[in-house]
């Protein structure tokens, strides 16, 4: 890469050509406040005007997020003109922003508040009527508060880029512009997967998960036996909420915190994941052996299920009828576990901690609204921990409760990363097909973070494919729809990279993470994935069918995979007639 000489504040620097002024300044140790520029300091919009700097010879100030560096450029960030302009930009944005910051759910992660502090915004500098507000709390997964929105457009871009469906868009013109689903509708009344990718990138509190902390509080108040179960991906990221670097494992401390929060039992959804492998594995074998509909497609990701119902109902016969792991585990908790402990299932309140906002929708589906009672995101769990006066740094490492549903295999852990379900399934499939153990554990060829991958599994004589993010997956699904798919088994996850990058995971906001590397947006997914892969490696049992508690569950309760009871408790069905734009807003 060619280098160019530039001057920042009169000092000489050499930087790669092709960088924006913002990127270059960051590399040289300057932090320019910015809002819309989130992608490595590159921005195609240059709309917030918060990152203005003075460039010698340029007409007016330049938006550093889109202005390219060139040879001999002289940049001043600290000139009075630039300082005042950045402050005025922020002050104007604040004048059309609902400023109840103390009560804002984004408090602590608000990038606007951060830049307001950086630029020294003055209170009430500009006042006037605000753009009419829309507050959408109809959708179970996501809340939208337009009065917080600063129109940066990140969510629009993310929705397109990750899911290719463009639920969100700009609407109207001028001061009336809002970012919203069409007709300013609720997320519930448009074909939104509720994956929460938009929530992950929102710099302010305009897009938030639909919090269910109150529900959990109420269950405690009512004296219910509140059982918590945590998804695999949560442990890969929860530590970030407490200031740890991305990629720090949080399993032990998370369990310790959950114990201190007073849960009746602390379980791992990895158990449910192992159970899913048993059911889904047998389902696959059943289809292969009996000439059933192939390829079989996974059903663990509720975002993907939503997408499928809206856009590809034709592939319903291909989709596994298995409920997702936490729903299975909820169902087992309220039957098998309840029975064993002689507890009335009505007194049990199951809380799932998920990296996901779509799971909040999933648990309310009429087909299975009894299994799980509340879904909290990783972020919500962190809030509960923080408000309870627990000091994360000083927590000991503790183990999940060993009580019927306690054991889990390494196969369950890797469910949280794209390709994990496939790998877990492959570990068991050989055993199911041949009745013999197979010594191969790691299937490197299904690992990786690329959006679409395929692999040939010679041992089983099948081809498989893996995709995460609907934009990536749509090609595979289209093939299935057209009957041209060459695969036997396809794993699809709603969010790019899988659950480690789910819509309920801690925010990755480079502006607020001064201790992370500059390229953190490129690396955080791999770092989180590594947490799961290394936990898998540490497990003694790494195949679902060897999980002793699973074996016991089948022996004592379910009988065998795909038994009548299994079908009743662990399987579900889908809606082929889901309307994309139902009546009403």
């Amino acid at each position: 890469m060619a280098l160019v000489n530039i001057k920042i504040e009169g000092r000489d620097y050499q930087v790669e050509s092709g960088l924006t002024v913002l990127e270059a300044c960051r590399k040289c140790g300057y932090q320019i406040p910015s809002l819309c520029a989130f992608n490595h300091g590159k921005c195609s919009r240059a709309s917030c005007r918060v990152c203005l700097v003075e460039v010698k010879g340029a007409r007016g100030l330049c938006a550093s997020c889109e202005y390219p560096v060139n040879e001999g450029m002289e940049i001043s960030i600290s000139s009075a003109k630039a300082v005042e302009a950045r402050r005025a930009s922020v002050e104007l944005i604040l004048s059309n922003h609902e400023k109840n910051c103390l009560q804002c759910p984004k408090n602590g992660h608000c990038e606007l508040l951060h830049v307001a502090e950086m630029v020294g915004a003055r209170d009430g500098k500009y006042v006037g009527p605000m753009t009419p507000k829309t507050y959408d709390e109809v959708a179970p997964g996501i809340i939208r508060n337009s009065a917080k929105c600063i129109l940066c457009g990140r969510c629009i871009e993310r929705c397109k880029e990750a899911q290719g469906i463009a639920i969100l868009g700009f609407e109207n013109r001028g001061f009336n512009v809002v970012v919203s689903p069409v007709q300013n509708r609720s997320f519930a009344n448009v074909p939104c997967m509720q994956c929460g990718q938009c929530v992950n990138v929102c710099p302010v509190g305009a897009l938030m998960e639909h919090s269910e902390i109150d529900k959990v509080d109420e269950a405690f108040r009512q004296g219910k036996k509140v059982i918590v179960q945590t998804a695999p991906a949560v442990r890969a990221a929860i530590a970030e909420e407490f200031g740890e670097k991305i990629g720090t494992p949080g399993t032990g401390k998370m369990v310790a915190a959950l114990h201190r929060l007073g849960f009746f039992r602390v379980f791992d959804v990895n158990f449910g994941a192992d159970l899913t492998i048993m059911e889904e594995g047998y389902e696959l074998i059943h289809r292969i052996k009996n000439g059933g509909v192939l390829p079989q497609i996974t059903s663990c990701s509720p975002g993907w299920m939503n997408y499928m119902e809206y856009f590809y109902p034709e592939v319903i016969p291909n989709v596994s009828t298995c409920k997702s792991p936490h729903m299975m585990q909820g169902a087992i908790t309220k039957t098998y576990f309840a029975k064993a402990h002689d507890i009335d299932p009505k007194d049990i309140f199951v809380v799932s901690i998920m990296p996901c906002t779509a799971k909040k929708y999933e648990r309310q589906r009429p087909e299975m609204d009894k299994d799980v009672d509340a879904v909290l995101t990783t972020r919500e769990l962190a809030k509960m921990i923080k408000r309870s006066g627990i000091n994360w740094q000083k927590l000991p490492e503790e183990e999940f409760d060993q009580d019927l549903l306690g054991e889990y295999s390494g196969a369950g852990v890797i469910f949280g990363v794209t390709g994990g379900v496939m790998e877990a399934a492959l570990r068991t499939a050989y055993f199911v097909l041949t009745g013999k153990e197979y010594d191969k554990i790691v299937f490197e060829n299904v690992r990786g973070l690329e959006g679409v991958r395929e692999a040939e599994i010679k041992e089983l004589g099948i081809k498989v494919a893996i995709a995460s993010g609907m934009k990536n997956a749509s090609k595979l699904i289209q093939e299935v729809k057209e009957g041209k798919s060459p695969y036997a088994f396809i794993e699809i996850m709603g969010c790019p990279g899988g659950c480690i990058n789910g819509g309920g995971q801690p925010y990755v906001q480079p502006n607020l993470l001064p201790n992370e590397d500059d390229d953190i947006l490129d690396t955080y997914r791999q770092k989180r994935a590594n947490v799961l892969y290394s936990e898998d490696e540490r497990q003694v049992i790494r195949q679902s069918h060897n999980n002793k508690d699973i074996q016991k569950l089948y022996k004592d309760f379910l009988g065998e995979p795909l038994s009548e009871l299994s079908e009743e408790l662990l399987h579900t069905h889908y809606n082929p007639n889901r309307e994309k734009y139902p009546e009403g807003k």
């Binding site: 195609s44 005007r49 007016g60 889109e66 005025a88 944005i93 004048s95 129109l151 001028g174």
Partner: protein, 630 residues
């Protein structure tokens, strides 16, 4: 099938033939006459079509089809006097004609060579009747013929008449030059973009890289400045000129496709353009191997859909791409990465209309008029409180005073001139002291306004400048694309402050805030719309500080426009007691005093200001001028 023009020779032959026909038509053999009727949107909306039809009917009834012709022509430019009818060979020009007048014109002028005196224009200053166009003061200082058709007497729907006045001669010359030579010719002419920015056209073309990728020529006909309509008129009067200009530009930058982006509000312009393109395709003047060369070019039309910001070139490109018309950050500039990410040049209609002239007549002739700063002519849409309203093409360097008083005929109703607003919502107001400013890009900017696309709105003492600033801000707030925060929120906050001031709730501090914010928006917005959005505020604040101060300090609106700071008042000495105002009042707030009025037995009326809704019905109805605003 139209006759093909595939070689320079064929073009020359056709030119000679058509020029001869046109001359014959207007010179007229003895006993022959030609009638033309203005066919511009303005005149058409005053039913000029029915005048044309009436003439056709009368001619038919009199069986004189072989002796008298009648057809539509392009805009004559003196729109407040339209519709026009012009008779050849005498060149008598009748104004404000209706279909009912056709018979009289036919009976007197056509049959007996008598002038219909009552339809002649009366000069507002000399009070004299004027018969021929060239004798109008309105036209005397103009320099028509560069961007506008010199006499506008050609039928805009007849390609042959365009060829007769030299269409495609410039293209033919350009095609025998190298691309660089064409660019140089335009550079030397000093032509600057007529859409507002004033960027040298030749330089803009020269930025297009010499690569093999597709390139696009775009004509910006999204004339959005309220009060400007020259682009529409240019297309309507002579679509071939703009097409030819685009072809020359296309040749110069290496483009094979040209896109016209025209407002959907201009259906006639679009229809004429479409027709001309189709005809030229049939004739082989558009398509492959134009005039026997390797140059191929095709024209396409895209319609604007009512967004002022699409006049900004990157927003316009987004609009052609089927997106919201939100400007793109620059760099990259369109010349490098424009339409569909390929090099593109966007030129305004008037700019392109000047190009054939430059190539046909040579750059020297174009540059022979104008000022050091800006060469050539500029078309203005003169409007507002001025006697002669219409489109004028003046040599650059004409002063504002000449524009308003000599061409515009001064202010109607004996009112006092207050300001002239140029440059539309992006421009500013100039006052009495600026009237001797010669018009060009530099001088207008120096005076505190800008040329813009050529709107020139005259205001008189009855216009409140704070209200005018508020009007422009309302417009800008509606039309801001809403992308960048200074423009989206800043202009709204400016409007909030102006509204507060106009509502009589302003404080002196508001003026400081307004100025500071206006300056911020000017220097930090993303595109030209935002960067110029507050010019009307800053220029009126600069030119009329006392008017702003009266609003915020004394809470008075000197022009009596801002409703909260004025009231209607019945002057007792003038009131006749006729009761008309009381009957007109929609809220019955006019009552009687016990003071006798001039009519015996009647009493002076009085307005109960606490109930008055300030609709003005009383004042507009009073026959004695007894009601005033104060």
């Amino acid at each position: 099938m139209a006759e093909q023009i595939k070689t320079p020779e064929q073009l020359q032959e056709r030119f000679e033939h058509c020029a001869h026909c046109l001359e014959k038509k207007f010179k007229c053999e003895p006993g022959h006459k030609a009638i033309v009727v203005c066919g511009d949107t303005g005149c058409l909306s005053l039913n000029s079509q029915s005048i044309l039809e009436e003439f056709q009917k009368i001619i038919k009834e009199n069986k004189m089809e072989d002796k008298v012709t009648v057809n539509m022509v392009g805009c004559l430019g003196f729109c407040s006097q339209g519709p026009f009818v012009k008779i050849f060979p005498s060149e008598t020009l009748y104004t404000k004609v209706t279909a009912k007048d056709a018979q009289e014109i036919f009976d007197k002028d056509i049959l007996k060579d008598e002038v219909v005196e009552r339809l002649l224009f009366v000069d507002p200053q000399t009070k004299q009747k004027v018969r021929k166009q060239e004798d109008y003061n309105y036209y005397k200082l103009q320099h028509r013929g560069v961007a506008l058709v010199s006499k506008a007497d050609i039928n805009p729907e007849d390609i042959d008449e365009a060829i007769a006045i030299g269409a495609f001669q410039g293209l033919n010359r350009a095609l025998h030059m190298s691309r660089k030579e064409v660019i140089d010719e335009v550079l030397k002419s000093g032509l600057r973009g007529r859409g507002g920015g004033g960027f040298p056209t030749g330089r803009k073309w020269s930025f297009v890289p010499d690569t093999d990728e597709p390139k696009y020529m775009i004509c910006n006909g999204d004339e959005g400045d309220p009060g400007a309509f020259m682009d529409r008129s240019i297309i309507e009067a002579n679509p071939c000129a703009v097409i030819e200009g685009m072809m020359i530009a296309g040749y110069a930058i290496g483009a094979q496709n040209g896109y016209f982006y025209v407002r959907a509000e201009y259906p006639l312009a679009v229809a004429r353009l479409q027709r001309a393109i189709k005809k030229l395709e049939e004739m082989g003047l558009l398509g492959d191997h134009i005039l026997g060369t390797d140059f191929s070019f095709r024209c396409h039309i895209r319609l604007g859909a009512g967004a002022f910001v699409c006049g900004e070139e990157t927003a316009l490109i987004n609009s052609i791409e089927g997106k919201r018309g939100m400007p793109r950050p620059r760099p990259p500039f369109p010349a490098v990465k424009g339409l569909w990410d390929h090099p593109s040049v966007v030129n305004n209609v008037e700019t392109l209309a000047c190009v054939p002239y430059i190539l046909r007549e040579g750059w020297e002739k174009f540059a022979s008029v104008g000022t050091e700063d800006t060469k050539g002519t500029k078309v203005f849409a003169l409007g507002g409180k001025v006697n002669n309203v219409g489109l004028v093409e003046v040599p650059l360097g004409t002063t504002l005073r000449q524009l308003i008083y000599d061409i515009g005929g001064g202010i109607p109703g004996g009112k006092k001139f207050k300001a002239i607003q140029t440059g539309g919502p992006s421009g500013g107001c100039l006052t009495e002291k600026d009237l001797d400013t010669p018009i060009d890009f530099g001088s207008l900017i120096k005076a505190g306004s800008m040329m813009g696309s050529g709107g020139a709105i005259v205001m008189d003492e009855d216009n409140c400048m704070v209200d005018v600033a508020k009007f422009y801000m309302t417009f800008i707030c509606d039309e801001s694309c809403g992308k960048c925060s200074p423009c989206r929120i800043g202009t709204k906050r400016c409007l909030d402050i102006l509204t507060k001031i106009c509502d009589g709730k302003g404080e002196p501090k508001d003026l400081e805030d307004l100025k500071e914010l206006a300056k911020f928006i000017q220097s930090n917005s993303l595109c030209a719309l935002g960067q110029t959005a507050t010019n009307p505020i800053l220029s009126t604040m600069k030119a009329f500080p006392e008017e702003y101060e009266a609003h915020v300090k004394d809470h008075k609106c000197p022009a009596h426009v801002c409703k909260n700071m004025m009231e209607y008042y019945i002057v007792p000495e003038k009131c006749m007691g006729c009761t008309l105002c009381a009957r007109n009042c929609p809220v019955a707030c006019i009552g009687l005093t016990d003071k006798p009025a001039k009519i015996p037995g009647k009493f002076v009326h009085q307005i109960d200001v606490s109930k008055c809704v300030k609709c003005g019905s009383c004042m507009s109805g009073c026959k004695f001028g007894a009601i005033i605003k104060r």
